[in-house]
């Protein structure tokens, strides 16, 4: 029932040889490129850049889609590589795609708060697209924390949002299975921000990796050895690795508000959230909503996303279930086949 000692010794030797040989693969790996689909910067404000992706069809869908990604990682996750790209999938479906890149905040940005991100930056992006296309409203796709931002925006500016898609988006931050939220509730976020100013990305990474430390900081690297002799797989691995550790610092005041209002006080579902002095009520979201969630998401558990249904004011609410995790929903082979068509078809059926 257990390998013989000599088998174990043999395996250790094989492992060792494989590892030693693998370093030549790492030596030859070259530059790791991310964000591959051609795009053009169409609007800039402070460190924010709004990109428009080059359409691949002659006549793209009439109403464009703006992707709003989280602040905590870089948005190129949606366009990691040619065969793992949500953006490319949507373009192939004929959608006209825009993306907000929030940039890397520095010390001068520490007083940016949620109102700056939602009432100014995001609103200005939407206004820009509306003006460019001569449209009163556009479609929004919010991902993770960007999904929460999109919900806030849609509640504050419902006249600007035609259809809303949320993807792995936390809504109810106090579900029983939300370990990250449990950890955040007793944090003294005031002293954190008052001390550090902007919150270092590596501190957030530590929190994320600590959710599954043995898998994410150990087992993963042993599995890496299995793909060392396959340059393509190795590059894929390193690309993902680059994304995981490419964590921008968080603007201090926005972080303070996000932790307090969402993680600690759960204001979005309690209808007590104000941004920029205006109430944010999910009941104001009356446009169609498509909620995409992942069944094995350890960062945003399904229950945290599915709480949206009972809070939004729309009668046109539907969900899409992806069997996988928080990362797999962007980059797995199955996600490429399932997610873009599902979003595009849902949008096209409503425009």
């Amino acid at each position: 029932m257990f390998p013989r000692p000599d088998q174990i010794l043999q395996e250790v030797m094989e492992f060792n040889t494989k590892l030693a040989n693998s370093f030549s693969s790492l030596n030859q790996v070259g530059n790791i490129e991310v964000g591959v689909t051609p795009k053009e910067a169409v609007y800039e404000e402070d460190k924010l850049v709004l990109y428009r992706y080059k359409s691949v069809v002659d006549k793209p869908h009439r109403i464009p889609l703006l992707i709003v990604y989280a602040l905590v990682n870089r948005p190129y996750m949606t366009d990691l590589q040619k065969d793992r790209s949500l953006v490319k999938g949507l373009l192939d479906e004929g959608i006209d795609v825009y993306l907000v890149d929030w940039g890397y905040p520095d010390g001068a940005d520490r007083f940016l708060d949620l109102s700056d991100y939602i009432d100014l930056y995001l609103h200005h992006c939407v206004e820009h697209i509306c003006k460019a296309h001569g449209l009163p409203r556009i479609n929004l796709l919010g991902i993770c924390q960007g999904g929460t931002f999109s919900l806030c925006y849609s509640a504050l500016y419902p006249e600007r949002v035609n259809n809303l898609v949320t993807m792995v988006t936390p809504v109810d931050f106090h579900t029983d299975d939300n370990l990250l939220s449990k950890w955040a509730r007793q944090l003294d976020v005031d002293i954190m921000v008052d001390t550090l100013g902007n919150i270092p990305g590596e501190l957030l990474n530590w929190s994320f990796l600590s959710l599954k430390p043995f898998q994410l900081t150990g087992q993963k690297y042993l599995s890496m050895l299995d793909i060392m002799d396959d340059p393509k797989k190795l590059r894929n691995f390193l690309r993902m690795e680059q994304w995981i550790f490419d964590s921008p610092d968080q603007a201090g005041e926005a972080f303070r508000e996000f932790i307090k209002y969402f993680f600690q006080q759960n204001r979005l579902v309690h209808d007590t959230l104000d941004i920029g002095g205006r109430p944010v009520r999910l009941a104001n979201i009356t446009m169609p909503v498509f909620n995409v969630y992942a069944t094995q998401d350890h960062l945003v558990p399904p229950a945290a996303s599915l709480a949206l249904e009972r809070k939004v004011g729309t009668k046109d609410y539907s969900t899409f279930t992806f069997v996988g995790g928080h990362i797999g929903i962007y980059v797995s082979g199955r996600a490429q086949k399932e997610i873009p068509p599902a979003i595009a078809n849902w949008i096209k059926a409503r425009d």
């Binding site: 257990f2 370990l179 950890w183 550090l196 600590s210």
Partner: protein
């Protein structure tokens, strides 16, 4: 009882032989890497490239690099010679690797040492399992006994190996790296305080606390108070780190229990564990299960939060002290910079708000309408002037008059 001494010795020698070969493989590679460096690859002249030169990471093993944080340099006396050899090899090779692959390679190296240690544990278990196979009828009880024997020898805390800790101490190890980044005090100072006194583990801490409570005197009284405050906060944080470590040690123990149970279940189901890798995966599954149990407990949640909160208090006090020093040299401080940033930010926000109000009030539209009307009037005036200039001059004719004679 069967005498297995001869077999044990043979296996022991085989294990040592494997480790020797293991090290030899790396040393051969190091030699090749060294030759490659000499033959054309750009030689890195930095101190880190030379493992025997002064290396700042070695002098403070918890600073900066996850690779060296786990290395034998952190505690060279606890490490086995194979780990030390591999560390030296890595220091030689690392500078020659391209940046893209260096970090991943470093993490791989961390895990490599742990995996070797895992091999040793699995080997111990495998050896015990050989006895079970010989046992015959009462194999289940025998298996349980062997697993128990193995469990007793399997303790992350007891092993003390940096490689093994790379597997067992991951959350704490990451915290120590962060701690070093955010504090004046390197993470290993906390370790040196532990159990240092002759009267028990907390003796030194009590002594330090006593010193920190001494009344302050004289011209530098305020500065002394700041240092005392900082010292107390730092001690508080160290105590939380120790509590955190105790809790995580529970994960190791629970993991061992879970592995034992899983092995028994696998045996009962007639299944088998066929490789070291499967053993490792089993260990990871059990560790995650044990860790998740702990991570959801109120004790852990509270300790984890205090870990950050107490560190931030330490850091906050440090900043205050640094700012006092900066003021002495008439240099700008972080607080002053923050004030400037905040004022700029408020000003920008106010400008945006006023612009928004202007837009909402319709004044902009009125301005536009006014400009439009003004342009129209100007155009009309221009047109009128042009017409006047173009039209030919004609004699003024008197209006025709009719005379009506009255009859």
């Amino acid at each position: 009882m069967t005498d297995n001494t001869g077999t044990t010795n043979a296996w022991g020698e085989a294990w040592l032989d494997t480790q020797r070969k293991y090290l030899d493989t790396w040393m051969n590679l190091a030699q090749r890497g060294s030759e490659a460096l000499g033959q054309g690859a750009k030689r890195d002249e930095s101190p880190a490239a030379n493992p025997f030169a002064a290396n700042p990471f070695i002098s403070n093993p918890f600073v900066a690099s996850s690779f060296t944080a786990n290395s034998s340099t952190a505690n060279p006396f606890a490490a086995n010679p194979f780990s030390i050899g591999i560390d030296q090899w890595w220091k030689l090779l690392a500078p020659s690797l391209p940046e893209e692959g260096r970090q991943a390679a470093g993490r791989l190296m961390d895990m490599n040492k742990g995996y070797l240690q895992m091999g040793e544990q699995a080997w111990n278990l495998a050896h015990l399992m050989q006895n079970v196979n010989k046992a015959g009828q009462d194999w289940q009880q025998n298996l349980q006994d062997q697993v128990k024997t193995w469990q007793e020898g399997f303790s992350c805390q007891k092993s003390g190996s940096p490689g093994w800790n790379a597997l067992c101490g991951l959350p704490l190890q990451h915290w120590r790296q962060l701690f070093s980044s955010y504090s004046m005090m390197p993470g290993d100072v906390e370790k040196s305080l532990r159990g240092a006194g002759p009267l028990g583990a907390d003796t030194l801490q009590h002594a330090v606390k006593g010193v920190l409570s001494t009344p302050t005197l004289g011209y530098t009284r305020e500065m002394q108070e700041d240092w005392q405050e900082w010292g107390k906060l730092w001690l508080e944080h160290i105590q939380v780190v120790q509590k955190y470590e105790q809790l995580l040690a529970g994960v190791s123990n629970r993991t061992v229990d879970l592995i034992g149970t899983r092995i028994m279940n696998i045996a009962k189901e007639g299944k088998s564990i066929d490789s070291l890798r499967q053993t490792y995966d089993l260990w990871v599954d059990c560790s995650e299960e044990a860790y998740t149990e702990l991570a959801n407990s109120s004790d852990f949640i509270s300790t984890q939060a205090r870990l950050t909160n107490t560190l931030m208090k330490v850091k906050h006090t440090e900043q205050k002290m640094v700012e006092q020093l900066l003021s002495v040299f008439n240099l700008p401080t972080r607080t002053e910079l923050d004030t400037a940033h905040e004022r700029t930010h408020r000003l920008r926000r106010e400008v945006r708000r006023l612009r928004h109000r202007l837009e909402e009030s319709g004044i902009e539209e009125l301005h536009q309408k006014f400009d439009q009307l003004r342009d129209e009037v100007r155009a009309m005036q221009a047109e009128s002037t042009t017409r006047s200039a173009i039209a030919p001059t004609q004699p003024t004719r008197k209006p025709a008059t009719t005379t009506k004679k009255e009859g």
